[in-house]
Each structure stands twice: as structure tokens, then as C-alpha cells.
């Protein structure tokens, strides 16, 4: 199985994402923002960072990268895509996911180990979790407050498209404690927390709960 890991100028977590993909037993395929080429991957990981320095708005400039011109139609056609942190922001800017991520209510960048509840285990990236399972993942962002208009929010809730919710305290003021959402088909998932930093005992957050994302997508691809 080949999982593409995208690097934009200013992407930071690409190495970690690739490592997590490899640890799960898949091949990590580097994808370069300036190429019009998805290299035939089976799924795509949009990692975190400060693409284009997060200038203007997080993800606003990356969204127009040549690679995105390939990725957007592919995602709409069902290619599994996971965006974490800056990757989530890019997915929203690209309108693959609704709503937007805005400045944390506390106005500070916040790095901490955060409780999260899996609210939907039917997406491409969450199949190996239990519905309602509580997991621990690191968050590290300054602009993670999810907002959307009332109608969008209601639709997300109604359709079960809120995939993750913060537990034990909302770190950034996100509406409805939203930590992550998916598109209608469930192949595109975006979340602020970082699964790739919770896959090893020795390093990262004090949990290996992030592994579930990678086992989920592998399982999905193998059985597909």
C-alpha cells in the first residue's frame, strides 16, 4: 500500500508522518507541492506545519499549489485523504471540508497532550477505533478553533460528520468542541491533533493511540 505524504514549503511534520506510515507497514511516498503528480498513491496524508509561513491565513496559499490541483478532484472522486493540523487547515481552505480554522480563543499557540473522543468510526481513517473511544493525542497549534455557520454545523452534527471531539477541556474554543470532521463520503478527514506524534513508546506523546489512523487506512485499502 502506498500512502503519499505531501511537502509544501514550510511543512514540518512530513518526516514524522512518513515514519508513522512506515511503522504501520505501508510505503510512504513523498509528494512535492510543485508537481502535478500524485504518483499513483492509494491514500494521501497532508501533514502539519506552517506552509508558506502560515502567512495570510493558514493553508490559504498552499491550497493553490499544483499538487492540490490534482488532489482536489481525486479526493472528490474518493481518494482517502487525511489532513492534520495545517493539513486540516488546507483542506478547509480548499473547500474539501466545510468551515474554517481560526485563531485559538486563548490567543496563544498551545502544545499539549489532549483527550479526544472518536465520534465516528466509519470513516476511511477511523475504522479501527471503537465508536466513542477516548484517545490521547498531542495538539500543537495557534489557529485551531473550528468555526462554521449554524446551518453547516447542524448538518455536520446531523450527518455524524463530527469525527473527533475534545474531551477534558476545549483547548482552543472550537464550536461544539470539534477536533476533526469528514466530508460526506467519509474519505476526507481533517483534525487538529497529531496522530503521527503518538505512534512510538519512546518518543512523542505518552500514548500510541495515533497508530489507529494508520491501521485503519491500511485495513480499508486492503479490503477495498
Amino acid at each position: 500500500m502506498r500512502v503519499g505524504v505531501v511537502t509544501f514549503p514550510g511543512t514540518l511534520d512530513d518526516q514524522d508522518a512518513a515514519r508513522a506510515v512506515r511503522l504501520a507497514g505501508a510505503e510512504a511516498v513523498p509528494l512535492w507541492h510543485a508537481d502535478h503528480d500524485l504518483r499513483g498513491v492509494d491514500a494521501v496524508f497532508l501533514p502539519g506545519g506552517f506552509s508558506y509561513g502560515d502567512y495570510l491565513r493558514c493553508g490559504a496559499i498552499s491550497r493553490f499549489a499544483p499538487l492540490m490541483e490534482e488532489l482536489i478532484p481525486a479526493a472528490k472522486a474518493g481518494l482517502p485523504v487525511l489532513g492534520t493540523c495545517n493539513g486540516f487547515q488546507i483542506l478547509c481552505e480548499a473547500h474539501l471540508l466545510p468551515g474554517a480554522l481560526t485563531r485559538n480563543a486563548g490567543l496563544h499557540y498551545l502544545c499539549r497532550d489532549q483527550g479526544i473522543r472518536v465520534e465516528n468510526n466509519a470513516t476511511a481513517w477511523t475504522g479501527q477505533f471503537d465508536q466513542g473511544q477516548e484517545i490521547l493525542l498531542p495538539i500543537k497549534h495557534g489557529e485551531g478553533r473550528y468555526v462554521a455557520d449554524a446551518a453547516t454545523l447542524a448538518e455536520l452534527e446531523r450527518a455524524g460528520r463530527v469525527v473527533f471531539r475534545y474531551t477534558g477541556g476545549n483547548p482552543n474554543g472550537s464550536l461544539n468542541d470539534i477536533a476533526g470532521i469528514c466530508n460526506e463520503a467519509g474519505n476526507v478527514v481533517g483534525l487538529m491533533p497529531h496522530p503521527e506524534h503518538a505512534v512510538e513508546e519512546l518518543t512523542g506523546a505518552p500514548s500510541v493511540d495515533g497508530r489507529g489512523f494508520f491501521t485503519s487506512i491500511l485495513k480499508k485499502l486492503v479490503t477495498a
Binding site: P9, Q15, D16, F50, G53, H108, H194, E196, H197, T203
Partner: protein
């Protein structure tokens, strides 16, 4: 505006040059004239004034700093010593680490966010210029009193600047310090450390050999940032200068720096770089003179080719500009195309601005006229050297007189008072603004005693290795004020101990020496004593100084800061999976105190908090005991004897116990080994650590201690939800936590 060319200088030999305004002394100016055999041009004066400034030439400190070399212990680990951009240490399995700490104190007072941010940017470029990939940063900070108004302006800005710049670069922040003391109110200290990793055989040096090779300036365009900063801002007192003539502040662009990092690494990998130098305080002046001086000896530069952000800049200003995110490389003509292609891939502007020559001269032209023609070594290496007079401060003996302070009866209240104090309370308000996970190699970070990183890098040619490195920085201005010789040694001892408690073997040292004005003989005495102390202790502990930085003029009027030597220690752990986590890690472990406690409260946190008193003598330095303790800790870690550890420092055993409980919310019940509970709990004697071990491993630990003559006291066991000291106190962990965490948020929101 007429161009001051060499030709013009010859025609107008007596023209008055503004050397004094540029911070140059009359005799220094005369020396420049002697070297050149004529008056300097404006551009030449710009170069000499920045290169001979305190900041760049170390003219007041040089004679003392030499001890770091002359007293250096023999070390097989040292690959590159002092004098390069950063020292390089062999860490085994073909890998090397390079690390350095540097100050950005004055700019951080003027504009806290940008000052601190560009401090991080600068030290990261130093590490890059050695050929390394930067892998982590640390920050050692000092502010005025927590209750002083200006602290609310300076601290949030500084933290945000470090956070934004470091986070954007994707460098985990793995440790540091935050200290409050009124002595820093007008002179906050912002010391940033960066560590990098490289293959042992891929070290790059700042040198420009090979006539015909091209000189490339790459990175950001040059603007009017911090013009005059190097000499005016960094080497004169702030009060008089900066208010009157505030230099343009340097603004950082971490995104450009991130691109520069990736670009440089790809350039190194493609092997298209002959020599490289970062552009720091003295910008183009420094890079050209130093590269030329260390190379074949000559360089010809066309300054018109420097890409400008502000097209109105004059050549003198281009030479002095401190615009950030720039590097200079020397590249063979054959490799130029490949070099440029890599820069383009990363969107990094790059321009050939000159060529290496064998003329022995650094020449620069502007509009076709020669405006600089100097022997580069005279600017880079032959700056003035001062033997500044020094003597013990008039009040030193009085300061060292022991004063009996009333000791408390209620030790529970004392512990809570200390735990919630400005300096001992939780640093989380600060550290939660730093990304400690990025790059995926962080094994330990705050609140551990030292940061620990795994060395498995996705760098090309990397063999898998089980190794890790540990880093800690420490400094205690109060100790150093009482006795700068001992204070510097205690800073080293604490950083060394912090590295050892993780299981790593200390290998090498970097330092940042923050002092008042060197023109004050009493400050100069503090400086001389601190350097002598640090050099002696490095020798005894067997850890060489690989580099560092001196920051003088940290004073407002006649009031200097406490002398504040900050010491960083780097250690290696062979199998990083054997690192020892911080604090109590499980219930039913034996709690063991290593090391002896004496009645030592001079300069202590308790005297500061309870009595606002500073006097007497700091704790005794016991380097042999430190070394033995480190041997025990690293050997025990290797053998898998330790379940957790924590060093004893400010606030003594009581604070260490509380922090060990807070690490994972696991309590402990202990009894005290000595007669005097207050001394046992709060003394700050050096060479001590707290560890926890499984009961069946205690005997092996005790034997190891006995063999190394390290005193070892079983205090009790872990478990429960309180910290209990038999017959003295019992405090629920929830109370400890609340007290510990409330302090900084109460002030900063």
C-alpha cells in the same frame, strides 16, 4: 551624496570620519589608519567598526576566554573547538553533534517579540553553517520581578517570539529556564541554544579557498535592519544610545529560514559548497572578512550586486545591515549551476556577488569605484585586545557575611510558598507555547531535567543507531553574585547533573556569559572570576568548552545585572531506550536520595522567597562528588536499575520531591535522613539527586553507590495521592499541583 571611494580617501586624507559615532575609540581609529596607510573610506570604517565592536571582536573578554582552551581537558570527542561558528562533538557511530548558546538580550528589551525571534534565527544559522541539520532549540530566559510592570510587556513578547520562530522552523524546544529577579528589569536575558546533527565526516567550515571560486549571497534580500546594531546596540549602554538613536529593529521571517535550512541541507548533500558562513551581527562585513581571512586570503565583491529590499541603501549601510535569514557560500564555478538550481527549488533567492582571489586583499566596488581595499585578517582576527582592569567589588566582603535568618516552624507552608514562588512554580505557561514533538525524535522535554533526543534521523546515509543526546542549560545569578568563581562552577555542575540524571554521559560545554559593563572594574572582576571558575571546573569534570557567547553591558546606569553565566551541557546516551524518565513513574518504588546534605542557604531560593535576602556564600562546589554521582547515575541507567530520577537544585529536597510527585500524579511517603528537617528539606547543597527504583534493585544500586563513594539514603516508597514526610507534612498532590500551576497564569492570563 558623494561616494567615498579609496581614490577619494587618498585625495582627502584629513577628512574627519565619524568613528566615535560608530563606537570606535580614537586609538582604534589610528590603528585602522596605520593598517591602511591612509584614512579609511566610509565603507571601510563601517567594516572595522562592526568587526572591532565588543560584540564581534570579544576585545574585553578574549584574554580571559583563552583559559577555556589552555585549561581544556583532553577529550577525544572534540572535533571542532572554539573559534568556529559552533563546536562539534563526536557522539559515536559516525555521528557528530554541534551546539551553541547565544544571547539576544538588548534587542529583546527594545522589541521583545522580534528580538527573541531573531535570537533563535541567528543561533540556528550558526548551527546550519557547520554543515548540520538543526534538530532542537532551548531557551534560557531572565526577566525582572514577576510583580514588576515591565515584565508583563517583555515576557509574553519574548515567549511569543521564541515560540513563533522556533515552531515555524519545525524545531522542537526541549528545555530551558525562566528566572525572575528585579536585577533584570531593564536588562532581560534571552539566551537561545540550538543543537544540530551531522555525519562526522561532513563538517563545513567558514573558509573561502580557491581563487576563481564564486561568492554567493543567498536567502533574504538586504534591508535597513538593525543598521548600526552590531556596534551601537550591542556594545554601548542602552539607555543613552537606544533612546537617542534607536536603530531599526530586525524583523525575522521564519518561513524564509525554514526554506534556507532545507536548501542548505540539499546543497551539502549535493556537495556543492566549498565554504559557508551565516550572516549574523555584522552582516556582509563579517561574512566577507571572515571567509576571506580563513581562505586563500583575497576576495573581490561588487556590492551593487547585493539584492536589496530597500533600493536607497548606501554601501556603508549594506555592509552594516543585520537583515536576517541570509547566508554566504563559496562555490566552484563548475558547481554554480547546480547550486542555483537547488536554491530555486526552495524559492531561495541567490546571487553571485563576487569571487575569491589570491590578492591577500578584500576589495569591494560600488558603481565601478573601489570603496574597500583591506587585508581581511586585520578586520576579522586582529581586532583590539584589552586588558581591562578589575578588582573585587567594594561591598563583596559585606555581601559574603553570614546573616542568621529566622527559620520557619511550619515546613508545610514553606514548601507551598516555595512551590508557588515566581522561580519554582510551573513553567507550563511558557513551555506549552513551544512545540516539543516536531520531527518525532523527542524522548524527553519539559518538565524533565534535560531534553533528550533520539539520533535516528531521516538523513541520507544514516545507519540506524540506538544513540541519543541529552542537553541542559543552567545558571544561577544569585550564586554568581555571591561568588562568581563558585557560581559559574555551580551552573556547570547543575547542567552536568541534569544531563546525568537522564542516564546520559556529559561530554561537552557551551556557555553564554551575561554581565554588566566591562568598563566597570568590579564587573570585570566578576567576569574574570566566572571564566576562571568555569574553565577550572570544566577541566576537573573532563568536559571541554566548545564555544559560547559573551554579552556585556547588561546594565542600566550604574546598576549591573547579577553576573549570570549560563552553561549548557551536552551528553550522550548509548542506548536511548535506557533513558531515565523524570520523577516518580509508578507506585511501590523505593525513593532514594543520592548525595549528602549540609546546612547551606546562602543565595538559596528560600532566603530569596522568605526573606528577600541575598548574602553569605553559595553552596560548596563539590566537583569530585558531582563526577561520582554522574558515574552512579549513568551506570545505573545502563544497567536498567532506575525507574525515575530528578536532580536536586533550587528549593532542595522538598521541591524535588514535590516535582517528582507532580510528574505523573504519583505520591510518596518518606522520612528524612538527617537531624534537622528544615535543612534536609530546603538546603541547596550540590551533587545530589533523587531516584526511584524497584525494591529488588535497591541493593544493586546501594552497592554501586558504595563503590563510587556516593552516599545513598532510602527515604521511603512511592504511591498514594499525597506527598507525606513523616512527622512533618502531608500535602495532597492536587494541592501541590494547584499551587505549582497558578502563579504564572495569574500574572500573564
Amino acid at each position: 551624496m558623494t561616494l567615498d571611494s579609496v581614490k577619494r580617501a587618498l585625495q582627502s586624507p584629513d577628512e574627519r570620519m565619524p568613528f566615535a559615532e560608530l563606537g570606535m575609540k580614537e586609538d582604534e581609529y589610528q590603528r585602522v589608519k596605520e593598517i591602511l596607510g591612509r584614512r579609511p573610506t566610509g565603507s571601510e570604517l563601517a567594516i572595522y567598526s562592526v568587526m572591532w565592536s565588543e560584540h564581534c571582536s570579544y576585545k574585553s573578554s578574549k584574554v580571559h576566554l583563552r583559559q577555556f582552551a589552555t585549561k581544556a581537558p583532553a577529550s577525544e570527542a572534540l572535533l571542532v573547538g572554539m573559534g568556529e561558528n559552533a563546536g562539534v562533538v563526536d557522539i559515536g557511530d559516525g555521528w557528530a553533534a554541534t551546539f551553541k548558546i547565544e544571547s539576544h538580550n538588548h534587542p529583546s528589551y527594545v522589541e521583545p517579540h522580534q528580538g527573541a525571534a531573531t535570537g533563535v534565527g541567528g543561533i540556528v544559522r550558526d548551527i546550519m553553517s557547520m554543515g548540520a541539520r538543526p534538530i532542537a532549540v532551548m531557551d534560557s530566559l531572565r526577566f525582572g520581578g514577576l510583580d514588576q510592570h515591565d515584565t508583563r510587556r517583555v515576557l509574553p513578547g519574548v515567549v511569543e517570539g521564541i515560540s513563533h520562530y522556533g515552531n515555524c522552523l519545525g524545531l522542537p524546544n526541549i528545555g530551558g529556564e525562566v528566572v525572575f529577579d528585579p536585577c533584570y528589569i531593564g536588562n532581560p536575558l534571552v539566551n537561545a541554544l540550538c543543537v544540530g546533527l551531522l555525519r562526522k565526516d561532513q563538517i563545513k567550515l567558514a573558509t573561502a579557498p580557491g581563487p576563481g571560486n564564486k561568492v554567493v549571497l543567498f536567502g533574504a534580500r538586504t534591508g535597513a535592519d538593525g543598521i548600526g546594531g552590531a556596534s551601537v546596540l550591542a556594545s554601548a549602554t542602552f539607555e543613552d544610545e537606544s533612546q537617542a538613536k534607536r536603530p531599526a529593529v530586525q524583523v525575522g521571517d521564519p518561513f524564509m529560514e525554514k526554506l534556507l535550512i532545507e536548501c542548505c541541507l540539499e546543497l551539502y548533500q549535493a556537495d556543492v559548497v566549498v565554504g559557508i558562513q551565516d550572516l549574523g551581527a555584522a552582516g556582509v562585513s563579517c561574512a566577507t572578512t571572515e571567509l576571506a581571512a580563513k581562505g586563500t586570503g583575497g576576495m573581490a565583491v561588487d556590492l551593487n550586486l547585493v539584492p536589496l529590499r530597500d533600493p536607497t541603501l548606501r554601501p556603508e549601510e549594506i555592509l552594516m545591515s543585520e537583515s536576517q535569514e541570509r547566508m554566504m557560500a563559496v562555490v566552484t564555478p563548475e558547481d554554480i549551476a547546480a547550486f542555483m538550481a537547488i536554491c530555486e527549488k526552495w524559492d531561495v533567492p541567490a546571487t553571485v556577488i563576487g569571487e575569491v582571489t589570491d590578492s591577500g586583499r578584500l576589495t569591494m566596488t560600488w558603481d565601478g569605484e573601489v570603496i574597500v581595499d583591506i587585508p581581511p585578517g586585520t578586520a576579522a582576527d586582529e581586532g583590539p585586545v584589552y586588558q581591562r582592569p578589575f578588582h573585587e567589588p567594594a561591598g563583596q566582603a559585606a555581601l559574603n557575611t553570614h546573616v542568621e535568618l529566622a527559620r520557619p516552624d511550619d515546613l508545610r507552608a514553606t514548601l507551598l510558598q516555595l512551590l508557588g514562588s515566581a522561580n519554582l512554580s510551573s513553567r507550563e505557561w511558557v513551555t506549552s507555547q513551544y512545540d516539543r514533538y516536531v520531527r518525532g525524535n523527542t524522548v524527553l522535554a519539559q518538565p524533565a531535567d534535560a531534553g533528550v533526543l533520539r539520533i535516528s534521523e531521516s538523513m541520507p546515509g544514516a545507519d540506524e543507531t540506538t544513540r541519543g543526546i541529552a542537553l541542559a542549560t543552567d545558571g544561577n545569578g544569585r550564586y554568581a553574585k555571591l561568588d562568581p568563581y563558585a557560581g559559574a562552577q555551580l551552573a556547570l555542575a547543575e547542567a552536568y547533573r541534569n544531563v546525568a540524571v537522564t542516564g546520559a554521559t556529559p561530554l561537552a560545554v557551551t556557555n553564554c556569559l551575561n554581565f554588566g559593563s566591562p568598563e566597570d572594574p568590579e564587573v570585570m572582576w566578576q567576569f574574570a572570576e566566572a571564566v576562571r571558575g568555569l574553565a577550572d571546573a570544566c577541566k576537573t569534570l573532563g568536559v571541554p568548552v566548545t564555544g559560547g557567547n559573551v554579552s556585556f553591558y547588561n546594565q542600566t546606569g550604574a546598576a549591573a545585572i547579577h553576573p549570570t553565566p549560563v552553561v549548557g551541557v551536552l551528553g550522550v546516551i548509548e542506548d536511548v531506550a535506557r533513558r531515565v524518565p523524570s520523577g516518580f513513574t509508578a507506585a511501590n518504588l523505593r525513593v532514594v536520595l543520592l548525595g549528602d546534605t549540609a546546612d547551606e542557604f546562602g543565595g538559596s531560593e528560600w532566603a530569596h522567597v522568605a526573606h528577600n535576602h541575598l548574602g553569605g556564600l553559595p553552596p560548596r562546589v563539590r566537583l569530585d562528588a558531582e563526577r561520582a554521582l554522574a558515574t552512579v547515575l549513568t551506570t545505573a541507567a545502563k544497567r536498567g536499575l532506575l525507574a525515575g530520577s530528578h536532580d536536586l537544585s533550587d528549593g532542595g529536597l522538598a521541591v524535588a520531591l514535590a516535582e517528582a510527585c507532580l510528574a505523573r500524579g504519583i505520591g510518596a511517603a518518606v522520612s528524612l535522613p538527617g537531624e534537622d528537617a528544615f535543612v534536609d528539606l530546603f538546603s541547596e547543597s550540590s551533587a545530589r539527586a533523587l531516584v526511584c527504583v524497584e525494591a529488588e534493585k535497591f541493593a544493586a544500586l546501594a552497592e554501586l553507590c558504595a563503590n563510587n563513594e556516593v552516599p545513598c539514603y532510602g527515604l521511603g516508597v512511592t504511591g498514594g495521592t499525597s506527598l507525606t514526610v513523616e512527622d512533618i507534612l502531608e500535602i495532597p498532590i492536587a494541592t501541590l499541583r494547584e499551587t505549582h500551576q497558578a502563579t504564572l497564569p495569574a500574572v500573564f492570563g
